[in-house]
């Protein structure tokens, strides 16, 4: 019963912390995927009186591609409504249209910078960034990401406190046993074997539990989220490095807590 109580006291904060960390990692991936998707679709339109000289970077963002919008394509739609002479004049007078694709999706601040830098190029008449539509969703995702990060930090602190409190209680309860073992030449690490075993078992249980929950969630993701978001959810194969991070965190937190408190106990 005592062991079960210790086990639950260690496992509960650990599971909560790991779930929050998993959500944080997942949201991170979703944001990255969404950013990649909108980066592929997103372009800036520049209207210039003269041909545009080649540029590689704008506002420290690498330019992926600059596409020229052909004049004949632009006037194609109005071809039937104009006379031949008007069309000829229009073809001569029409400015150059460029579509600029970037390597990454810019923030609102960067977009303003881009607009300003492009507008400052001589003969550039107009710059259209079409930022509003994309920016709203992107900002929302960033907000969710930040909220989850704050939540994760809070959970991390809470778990750290709960685990350290549990170890402190154990040290207090076992102080006589620890001192007897130390009288016979046993180290603190040796006398802490039972608590280390409980902690190791809790950690392994938490990892397996979180692994199962994550797996079930991933294979049923279509039922849990809307179809338009499913494409943004990463595949389980793309999460290998994140899984490693979760396992590392599950081991690091109890280890740091235990060694911190052991040192404190030793000093006392």
């Amino acid at each position: 019963m005592k062991h079960l109580k210790s086990f639950v006291s260690f496992t509960a904060p650990m599971v909560i912390m790991l779930i929050t960390f998993c959500i944080y990692l997942l949201i991170n991936k979703v944001v990255v995927n969404y950013k990649q998707n909108i980066t592929n679709d997103y372009s800036i339109i520049v209207v210039s009186n003269t041909p545009f000289s080649k540029i590689n970077n704008i506002a420290d963002i690498k330019i992926k591609n600059i596409k020229i919008l052909e004049r004949k394509d632009i006037i194609k739609d109005i071809k039937g409504k104009l006379s031949e002479s008007s069309l000829k004049l229009l073809n001569e007078k029409l400015p150059y249209f460029y579509q600029i694709y970037l390597e990454e999706f810019p923030t609102t601040y960067k977009l303003d910078q881009i607009k300003e830098e492009l507008s400052n190029i001589s003969n550039v008449k107009r710059v259209e960034t079409f930022s509003n539509n994309h920016n709203k969703i992107y900002s929302l995702l960033l907000l969710i990401q930040n909220i989850i990060m704050v939540l994760f930090i809070l959970m991390l602190m809470l778990s750290f406190l709960l685990i350290s409190k549990q170890i402190k209680i154990w040290f207090f309860e076992q102080s006589e046993r620890i001192s007897i073992i130390q009288f016979h030449g046993g180290s603190l690490l040796y006398s802490s074997k039972p608590i280390i075993k409980v902690m190791a078992f809790s950690t392994l249980f938490s990892i397996v539990f979180i692994g199962l929950i994550s797996y079930i969630t991933f294979i049923n993701i279509n039922l849990l989220v809307k179809p338009e978001i499913v494409t943004l959810i990463p595949k389980l194969n793309d999460m290998q490095f994140d899984i490693l991070k979760v396992i590392l965190l599950a081991f690091i937190i109890p280890l740091i807590t235990f060694f911190g408190l052991s040192v404190q106990h030793k000093i006392k």
Partner: protein, 220 residues
């Protein structure tokens, strides 16, 4: 075995319990440390196994200067010492067998050899039938016999006993005195016992140190 040179012991660094104590305990000796209550007998014994640091002077136990030893060295020293306490200090979650096996496990003995050694010791202290019992199921005298068996388990060169018969009836006390005597006489273990009263007609050669007003001196 134990060489103290002008040692001063104190709990709080202000009031000295033992002052400028100098003495020499040779190998295979049987020593009694006596004195009135609060004279510092147990304090002196605590300094022998490093539970209390030496404020001034030098204290050599098994040629190790305990006044300069770090915690790792102290733990190594304790692995070669057997300690018997007045309140037995048995681990209540361990069985009798597990309690006796503790110093053997700490010294890294093979489990098979340890079990054999524990069996011999349990026979020696006449508690073979209680091997799987827990300390709470034993009488005070039985618990102290388990503590004695634990102190002997790893063949220590020194046994330190702090009032080992203080909580026992006469019969149990005599059993413990015999076990301590045998350890010294037949196994050649140096034994240092802190006690109020030395048993009358103690049959082996011994020396006695007395502590009075913080001064350690050899009594005739």
């Amino acid at each position: 075995m134990i060489l103290a040179t002008n040692i001063t012991l104190s709990y709080d660094g202000k009031k000295n319990i033992i002052e400028n104590g100098s003495f020499h305990i040779k190998e295979k000796e049987f020593i009694f440390i006596s004195g009135s209550s609060g004279s510092g007998k147990s304090t002196l014994l605590k300094s022998f196994y490093g539970e209390l640091g030496v404020k001034k002077g030098h204290l050599l136990i098994n040629k190790m200067d305990i006044s300069k030893a770090n915690s790792t060295k102290l733990l190594t020293l304790r692995k070669n010492i057997g300690i018997v306490f007045q309140d037995y200090k048995l681990i209540k979650e361990y069985t009798v067998e597990e309690n006796i096996m503790l110093p053997l496990e700490l010294k890294g003995y093979d489990e098979r050899i340890s079990k054999k050694q524990v069996k011999n010791l349990l026979n020696h202290v006449q508690l073979a039938h209680k091997a799987n019992a827990y300390p709470a199921e034993l009488s005070g005298g039985e618990q102290q016999r388990v503590a004695m068996a634990r102190a002997l388990a790893h063949n220590p060169s020194l046994i330190l006993a702090d009032e080992p018969t203080g909580n026992l009836d006469e019969y149990s006390a005599n059993v413990i005195w015999k076990l301590l005597r045998d350890a010294n006489e037949y196994l050649g273990i140096t034994v240092v016992v802190v006690t109020h009263t030395i048993p009358k007609g103690f049959p082996i050669k011994y020396r006695r140190f007395n502590i009075d007003d913080g001064v350690v001196y050899e009594a005739s």
